[in-house]
Symmetry: C2
Subunit: 434 residues, 2 copies
């Protein structure tokens, strides 16, 4: 073999050649790593399995349930109201760790729970109203991406009426470990601001949110100090224990009659003679302030739940006020997919509603309008209202809310008192006169 100048005979691979080769390999690995680092995401929670697919999984995986034991496999754990659940935080966390596709988005994930009695309503239009109230909640949940569960059968034969919500909420907590929050909303409460998302960050140190005022508990000692018909409850051990304590003042308790007496003795304006869930909750805050007050947020800043009687008369003015915002701002008039409604809610918030609180006298639409005292199902409304004021008020509020939904389908109820037919909206409404 002829050798030319510069060539060398190498019967073995020498060290410097290996160094060169590895140097090339290392350099390209550095380049590749830099490229992917630019795009990588690191989840906050520890995941044990499927970490790569969790990072890039576009959706929750409803077809995946590993065989690793979780709390569902514990014979002692029941969904029922009587048996306390222990270590719920650890149980939920383990389930989430084993189902990492549910971790992303977990911190605000909410299941709404509502319900009504199992038998047809005594009020001839009762079920019709309940149906429309349910549709309203389904609309709100669809717009904001929440699941919703309607409970219309008692989970405990004795826990009926306003007590029926507690077993339903507890069962929902256990059935939905992926949910961080359970949002109970009474059947006679309506979402009248489809755009609004409550300021959840405000409540991150709390486990229960209700509409209420501390002064009315501690100074006035009134049973109306908060409303237990709408609450946002963390899916955690603290809440499980609250439910147990709360239930202990209800109809399954051997001391049920005693609790009624205690509540009446402290809260002189209590409406129902027997122990009721709302007064019971106020009682806990009143008597055991140091335990409960730090964890229950009494939201008085906006209509987390609002009294219909003071809200309904103003609805036409609110409609006009919001249309005025839209006449001023072409972005708010822009038609869009229902699924991106939150973008336009944010525009409006930024442009017109910043710093605006939400209660009585506010510029905002009322968030939730609650027809307390109307009793649409039985028809046995509080005698201080006449029935028609209740039913007409409901139709008006339902159509007011529905206008915000139907807007995304191109239609409106131009008369809030008339449900059907709808009127088609012209392009660039409400700028176009029509």
């Amino acid at each position: 073999m002829a050798k030319y100048a510069g060539a060398r005979t190498r019967p073995v691979i020498c060290f410097s050649d290996v160094v060169l080769f590895l140097g090339g390999a290392f350099m390209s690995l550095i380049l590749v790593w830099s490229f992917f680092s630019f795009y990588s995401i690191s989840p906050n929670l520890t995941v044990k399995t499927n970490e790569t697919s969790a990072k890039c999984s576009p959706e929750i995986d409803m077809k995946y349930d590993p065989t690793d034991p979780v709390y569902y496999d514990e014979p002692d754990l029941t969904y029922t109201i009587e048996k306390p659940v222990k270590n719920w935080d650890e149980k939920r966390r383990r389930w989430l760790n084993l189902h990492p596709s549910f971790i992303i988005g977990a911190e605000n994930r909410t299941v709404m729970v509502t319900g009504s009695q199992s038998a047809p309503c005594k009020n001839p239009i009762g079920d019709h109203l309940l149906l429309r109230f349910f549709k309203n909640k389904v609309d709100y949940c669809r717009i904001h991406g929440h699941d919703i569960f309607y409970s219309n059968a008692l989970l405990h034969p004795k826990m009926n009426s306003y007590w029926a919500k507690l077993p339903a909420v507890k069962a929902a907590m256990i059935a939905h470990p992926e949910a961080e929050w359970i949002w109970w909303v009474d059947s006679d409460a309506l979402f009248t601001d489809m755009d609004f998302t409550p300021p959840w960050h405000r409540y991150k140190e709390h486990n229960l949110v209700v509409h209420g005022w501390p002064g009315v508990i501690y100074n006035d000692r009134s049973w109306t100090a908060l409303n237990a018909g709408v609450f946002h409850m963390g899916n955690c051990q603290w809440s499980m224990e609250l439910i147990d304590t709360w239930t202990g003042m209800g109809p399954v308790s051997p001391e049920y009659a005693k609790w009624g007496q205690i509540q009446r003795s402290i809260f002189k304006d209590k409406l129902f003679p027997e122990s009721d869930d709302q007064t019971a909750l106020i009682y806990l805050l009143y008597k055991h302030r140091e335990v409960y007050y730090p964890k229950i947020y009494l939201e008085g800043d906006f209509y987390f739940e609002g009294y219909w009687l003071e809200i309904v008369p103003g609805l036409t003015n609110v409609t006009e006020r919001y249309l005025e915002m839209e006449r001023e701002d072409a972005t708010l008039r822009r038609r869009h997919a229902e699924k991106v409604s939150e973008r336009y809610a944010a525009f409006r918030e930024e442009r017109f509603l910043k710093g605006e609180r939400g209660g009585k006298g506010s510029k905002r639409r009322p968030f939730v309008t609650h027809f307390t005292g109307c009793q649409p199902c039985s028809g046995d409304h509080n005698k201080m209202y006449d029935g028609d004021t209740c039913w007409n008020g409901m139709i008006k509020a339902i159509n007011f809310a529905d206008n915000q939904v139907m807007r995304k389908y191109g239609f409106v109820h131009s008369d809030l008192g008339k449900t059907s037919p709808l009127q088609p909206l012209p392009f660039d409404y409400p700028d176009e006169p029509w």
Copy 2:
């Protein structure tokens, strides 16, 4: 500088060194590429923006709507039934491309649409039944991740009764560009198999799926050849044109009366004298077979929609059959989060239902039970049934379906005729005798 044996002086980098270096780089790139090929996913649709975040975005982005013009910005496009929509496929595709977070999962994304009249029902229990039927649909959608929209106001004053669905479906198509399918389900149709997902892949060359049989159209010429009360419609231009043609045989058409005559002359068993949506659709398949038959799938293999009268008597047997499967298979007894129900549906399918079709005489639960002829809202049921058979059948079917839901909340209706209270389920049900 002393030189040792084997060392050489290299004042320049020589070709073989470069080859070695690049060889190392290339080798490691090959290794890295092989590794990632093993895990790579390539989306089918072309995306123009935000491709990287779409790949790793865990959820749809409801807060993003770019200012690039889309069909919503075209003054000529309306949601109303009278004005045809053109180029809908291009319009939807552009919207999707501008909202890439919606692309992943788009191919099966479905919005369910249902509804009922706007006024209270004449039948005293009518609205109560409608409420329960609506809850049933909401349950099915929650389990399978579909959105649902309830329409209870006419979008066109003349398109009422069974014609009201078309304007609602069209408006929903325009409001939900992210949805590939709109699934219309009548208010009196019930999901009686909460586990079942129709075989959507079977219909990928079609744009409309209904329960029906070609022989009954082309040989028998019967108005019962298909049922227009439950259909799965692609959100596409073909469907927009079908809706236009279909509407053209309805009450807004100047030829409405003529269409009634034409339908009666061909379909001798037609029930309603005037043109109805079901006979109109059969007419299109009959008269213009070459246009419509290739694109409308007549699904006769299972109860895509099933006649209640032949289904309800067998429901107790079906319950027992499914419990028997669970007694045999511990996996099917395993409690789990509602959100992973599809996993257990797949287990049961694999173990017990493979190859099983779904119509009359099948081992399967009936998928959809449709109470045709019962008219729960007006109460004006077909005289061939008595009212109680209808209402009692409905309660039984509703509770049969609800048992599948409540199982995930730890409860059951042990008597299908009795809605409340529920009975708590023991651990390892139904293996534990109780």
